[in-house]
């Protein structure tokens, strides 16, 4: 692993099922994440993915790429455009720093058809020789 290394992208099909399953698995019952009619009343064209699911997908992307021995230390994300049903989000990542304490910083972007859904920084520890 070296600074500047790019991780293979991960394509996520943003289905209605993923949005609802992610919301419920994260115990988020806000209606905009499962009820399209109420979402429209609030000015959204459809239901949209909740931030906890996005956070979970970003964490999954980084540990998928670095393997099960990698340990998440920090995940910091900012949301941009929403993930609506029927879209595809492509997660991509770049190693941006390697620290003396054995941690690495990875910059992650999740882009969908509307633009950038998520930008973030993930800090992981990777045991030596593991990646």
């Amino acid at each position: 692993m070296k600074v500047g290394e790019e991780l293979a992208p991960l394509e996520i099909a943003v289905t209605r099922t993923l949005i609802v399953a992610g919301a419920i698995a994260s115990r988020d019952y806000q209606d905009v994440h499962h009820d399209a009619e109420l979402a429209r009343e609030k000015g959204s064209p459809d239901i949209f993915m909740n931030i906890l699911t996005t956070n979970g997908l970003v964490g999954r992307y980084v540990t998928d790429r670095f393997g099960p021995s990698a340990v998440l230390r920090k995940v910091a994300i900012r949301l941009g455009v929403p993930n609506y049903p029927g879209d595809t989000m492509v997660l991509s990542g770049t190693v941006t720093a390697l620290c003396d304490d054995g941690t690495a910083e990875v910059s992650v972007v999740g882009a969908n058809g509307l633009g950038r859904h998520v930008t973030g920084t993930v800090t992981i520890s990777v045991p030596e020789g593991a990646a």
């Binding site: 994260s26 956070n55 997908l57 964490g59 999954r60 230390r73 920090k74």
Partner: protein, 319 residues
């Protein structure tokens, strides 16, 4: 969270609400909160199924919970939160009462200090860290509220969770208010240095200045020649042929006056190189914003944007 209050006015220029909201900074948002469920295998499995996460660290006798589940263990769920502070309720009551009824999460920053394992009992405290000034975003106008939560497992620090939401009045509600009053493009500033140009536009002629001394063409209109400094000039009429030299696509913030769709969708702004050699900025029409390309041939025409304003624009996509 009840969405629409039709045509509600924003608070006036001086933001008195902000002063009141600011007083909540540093106050507790939740005190001695208790996770409704112990960390447990079924919830971990449901999470991993939803995320498509097959990491073996999250299964088996040595399983840990996915670290990104941190917030999930503190959620109120379908029956809601029972541990929020009065200050937090008051802050949200104030925002709801002022019309900022919608909420959307914008940022989440988590640090994981200790793995969570099935059986761990979760407790947490949270503080209202900051409230922003009133901001206008694509979603609408409102205030960002940032909270920071310290999460413990079996009484030991397990993680921190900083969470930012926007509490806002949906832009869609406001957008419907000025129906019929379609927004207009800004008026050009016409002065003695450029009056000749606008006179030309009124006659459907695109006029380029030509130096009286060295004959260098110049655009936009200026009192003197960039080449020799001479202040004498006359004009030549552009043939109307040109090509896209460069362009940008404007996505945000939306300006409905410039967009072909009333919603203020994206539009292209191009730098056109005229056949005479000078360049000017203008809109490209007749081509979707995402089909405008450098080098595309365009032809001048005049667009009446409203009863009082006519502008030179460039039609692309022919030939």
């Amino acid at each position: 969270m009840t969405g629409a209050r039709e045509g509600r006015e924003e608070p006036g220029g001086s933001d008195q609400l902000y002063g009141r909201l600011k007083e909540f900074e540093g106050r507790a948002a939740a005190t001695e909160g208790i996770g409704k469920d112990l960390v447990n295998e079924p919830m971990i499995r449901h999470w991993c199924e939803a995320m498509g996460d097959a990491n073996p660290a999250y299964t088996g006798p040595e399983a840990i919970a996915p670290p990104t589940m941190l917030q999930a263990w503190t959620m109120g769920g379908l029956s809601g939160h029972t541990d929020r502070s009065q200050a937090y309720e008051d802050l949200f009551g104030l925002l709801d009462g002022a019309g900022y009824t919608s909420v959307v999460a914008t940022d989440c920053e988590q640090e994981y200090l200790r793995p969570l394992r099935p059986g761990d009992r979760i407790t947490f405290d949270a503080v209202i860290e900051s409230v922003s000034e009133r901001k206008t975003t694509k979603l609408g106008t409102g205030y960002f509220v940032t909270t920071r939560m310290d999460v413990r497992a079996e009484g030991e620090p397990a993680g921190t969770h900083r969470f930012r939401i926007l509490k806002y009045t949906p832009a869609a509600v406001k957008r419907t208010a000025p129906r019929g009053g379609r927004s207009l493009r800004p008026r050009p500033v016409i002065n003695r240095d450029n009056a000749g140009f606008w006179q030309g536009v009124a006659e459907h002629r695109l006029l380029i200045q030509r130096c009286g001394e060295c004959a260098t063409l110049r655009f936009p209109w200026l009192p003197g020649c960039n080449g020799c400094g001479c202040q004498e000039w006359d004009t030549v009429e552009a043939s109307g042929e040109g090509t896209v030299f460069s362009y940008v696509v404007m996505h945000h913030p939306p300006f409905p006056a410039f967009s072909t769709s009333a919603e203020g969708g994206p539009y292209a702004v191009a730098l056109i190189e005229l056949a005479e050699g000078v360049r000017m900025v203008g809109n490209v029409v007749g081509v979707p914003y995402d089909k405008v390309r450098t080098g595309m041939p365009v032809r001048l025409e005049f667009l009446r944007t409203d009863p009082e304003l006519e502008l030179p624009v460039f039609r692309g996509g022919e030939g």
